[in-house]
């Protein structure tokens, strides 16, 4: 097990290294410096030198690359171009909390509503609630998150004035963006849970449980739900990707100072160090979530073995 985790971590590092290398050399091809050309040209050579030094631009590109990799290993992601005098790490860290809160709330909403809908839909297969769930599941993945966010903002925030239309002043502000982000998660969970549970309800042990004469509620809770809820863990990876990309648009719409809006702002401002920092952050976070899901799943479901057992 430990060996397996180390192997996976090593692979994550190699993948990150490839990502860093590709994006680094790509960014070097792009135009744009952190300096205003006119003002930069009237500086003394010594001043120019120290400015270049600060952004790590005074060496030839291969040397810059080696230094950059070395700095990353020390946790230093460089200096932001657009946020003057701030290093990338602290720029990103300062934006972490709103994104984390919204993402977490969206996952919780998605799980709560998705699981309930999925369970009810499978239990009452081909009933009204089943059709409603399937319609919601299709709509949830079909309505683009930015359309949902815009409409929620317009109707609930502006027309009915129930919740703030944006900004980040109190917890209330996080409700609408969380709901907007949660739609696709809800749809994915509901659909997955329904399929899993229909599978389980087909199994012989459900018939046995019914034949024993225990109540419907007990069949549902003790046999059906318990056996079908575990695999839901496995769709956490896709859900996290969905939330990450969704946050790019949703945070912009609601003016939330999170990582998603930072990323979009920095792309528009050509702030390459921050873009690289966020790319690395997203990739590392996503791969760690996938690793964690695999580990948790192997722990809760003894039939899944990550390492090759003795029998094969």
């Amino acid at each position: 097990m430990v060996k397996y985790i180390l192997k996976r971590l090593l692979f994550i590092f190699v993948t990150l290294w490839i990502i860093v290398t590709c994006t680094f050399f790509m960014m070097k091809q792009l135009p744009g410096t952190p300096f205003d050309a006119e003002r930069f040209s009237i500086m003394t050579p010594a001043q120019q030198e120290s400015m270049l030094e600060m952004y790590g631009l005074n060496d030839p590109v291969p040397v810059q690359y080696v230094k950059y990799i070395g700095n990353i290993l020390h946790g230093d992601l460089g200096t932001s171009f657009s946020y003057v005098n701030q290093d990338v790490g602290s720029v990103i860290a300062g934006r972490l909390k709103p994104s984390a809160l919204i993402g977490l709330q969206a996952v919780l909403i998605g799980l709560a509503i998705g699981l309930v809908l999925g369970i009810l839909a499978a239990w009452k297969h081909n009933s009204g609630i089943d059709y409603l769930t399937m319609i919601l599941a299709v709509l949830g993945v079909s309505v683009p998150n930015f359309v949902a966010a815009a409409l929620l903002q317009y109707y609930i925030g502006l027309k009915w004035g129930i919740l703030p239309i944006g900004f980040w002043t109190s917890w209330n502000c996080s409700v609408l963006p969380s709901i907007a982000l949660s739609f696709s998660a809800t749809a994915m969970v509901a659909r997955f849970m329904r399929t899993e549970m229909l599978d389980v309800l087909d199994q012989d042990y459900i018939v046995t449980a019914r034949a024993k004469g225990i109540s419907q509620m007990q069949v549902l809770m003790r046999h059906a739900v318990k056996n079908s809820i575990l695999p839901v863990v496995t769709i956490l990876g896709p859900i996290v990707v969905n939330l990450m990309t969704g946050s790019l648009a949703v945070e912009n719409i609601y003016s939330i100072p999170g990582i998603g809006s930072l990323f979009v702002d920095c792309i528009k401002a050509n702030d390459y160090p921050v873009i690289m920092g966020i790319t690395i952050f997203y990739a590392a976070f996503y791969m760690l979530v996938v690793l964690l899901v695999d580990l948790v799943y192997s722990m809760i479901d003894p039939r899944i073995r990550l390492t090759k057992g003795k029998e094969d």
């Binding site: 692979f11 994550i12 993948t15 990150l16 490839i18 990502i19 994006t23 790509m26 091809q29 792009l30 299709v138 709509l139 993945v141 079909s142 309505v143 683009p144 930015f146 359309v147 815009a150 409409l151 317009y154 502006l158 329904r194 399929t195 229909l198 990707v241 990450m244 990309t245 790019l248 648009a249 912009n252 719409i253 979009v264 792309i267 528009k268 050509n270 873009i275 790319t279 997203y282 990739a283 996503y286 791969m287």
Partner: protein
């Protein structure tokens, strides 16, 4: 051991008519015809198919037969509400929304078509080659895929868009870096599964060449997986374009893609909701129809999976 209670005389041989023995109830139908028969019974999928055909026809012909062009401004009808002249109203420059929306749909459908072709060519080939060659080639090809899967696709696409000028071509090129990965994985898994099955071995024993086995035994049996996956790639590609254009790094004015239109509509949502609502409805309709049709095709092509 003989059973004393049941004697052989109790048994009478059933007479079978010779012509009935060879009777064929219905002509053998291929996989596609079979799937079509089953798909036809799925009302939702058929409706989705017709709506999609209608949308495609509108996207192709509506701009041609309209007296407006997607970029003509008319300051007399700025933000016109939907009326007989402008069926979907007009935007902040008085451009006709009806024409702009169908032009945008054209771009979305074009991107969808390219994404599908890419999926079919690169994805299927990559997966098939990886599975069939096996060994070291397979290992290397799978490592490449694992690196690509390591980053969320949209991030790769965004980084790519930064490096090249925004345009339909760039978006298509960006999608082509990552769009085929899922397909490659599915096809590889499917072929690996098929490769070890008895009918392939039987074919080998009968002396079929490797090429014949690939073309006649393996690929036809993966058609189901391929078609279903294409149906889910298409809405993804449409969404990606709209998403990028919406956050302002995809296509830009005066081009009219659905994402650009929704972005423009969002800016004036407070006063003129119709500028947002119409393109939003069209994109949702396209996405819903593809996803319903995809579900229908999955049920039709893989009846065992039916839920």
């Amino acid at each position: 051991m003989r059973n004393e209670a049941i004697e052989d005389s109790l048994f009478v041989k059933v007479k079978v008519k010779a012509e009935e023995k060879e009777h064929i109830a219905a002509p053998a139908s291929g996989m596609i015809a079979d799937a079509w028969l089953r798909l036809r019974k799925n009302k939702a999928a058929v409706v989705a198919l017709f709506i999609l055909i209608a949308i495609i026809l509108l996207a192709v012909f509506a701009p041609v037969f309209s007296k407006y062009s997607f970029s003509d401004t008319d300051y007399g009808s700025v933000f016109a509400q939907p009326n007989a002249d402008h069926i979907f109203g007009a935007d902040q420059f008085g451009r006709d929304m009806w024409v702009r929306i169908w032009m945008g749909t054209r771009i979305s459908l074009m991107i969808a078509a390219v994404a599908a072709v890419l999926d079919l060519v690169v994805g299927v080939l990559y997966g098939a080659v990886s599975a069939l060659l096996g060994g070291r080639v397979d290992a290397v090809m799978q490592r490449i895929i694992e690196v690509l899967v390591g980053i969320p696709h949209l991030i790769i696409v965004i980084l790519f868009l930064m490096a090249f000028p925004a345009g339909v071509g760039t978006i298509i090129a960006a999608l082509s870096i990552t769009g085929w990965v899922n397909m490659a994985r599915l096809v590889r898994a499917e072929i690996l599964k098929l490769k070890s099955q008895e009918f392939v071995m039987a074919s080998q024993v009968l002396g079929s060449s490797k090429f014949y086995i690939i073309m006649k035994d393996l690929i036809p049996n993966t058609v189901g997986v391929i078609v279903i996956n294409v149906m889910f790639t298409i809405p993804n590609a449409i969404f990606t374009e709209a998403f990028l254009s919406f956050i302002g790094i995809g296509l830009a004015e005066p081009q009219a893609s659905l994402g650009v239109l929704i972005n423009g509509g969002y800016q004036v949502l407070q006063n003129y909701p119709h500028v947002l609502i119409f393109p939003a409805v069209v994109i949702v309709l396209i996405m819903v129809c593809f996803s319903v049709l995809g579900d229908g095709l999955r049920d039709a092509m893989d009846p065992q999976m039916r839920k």
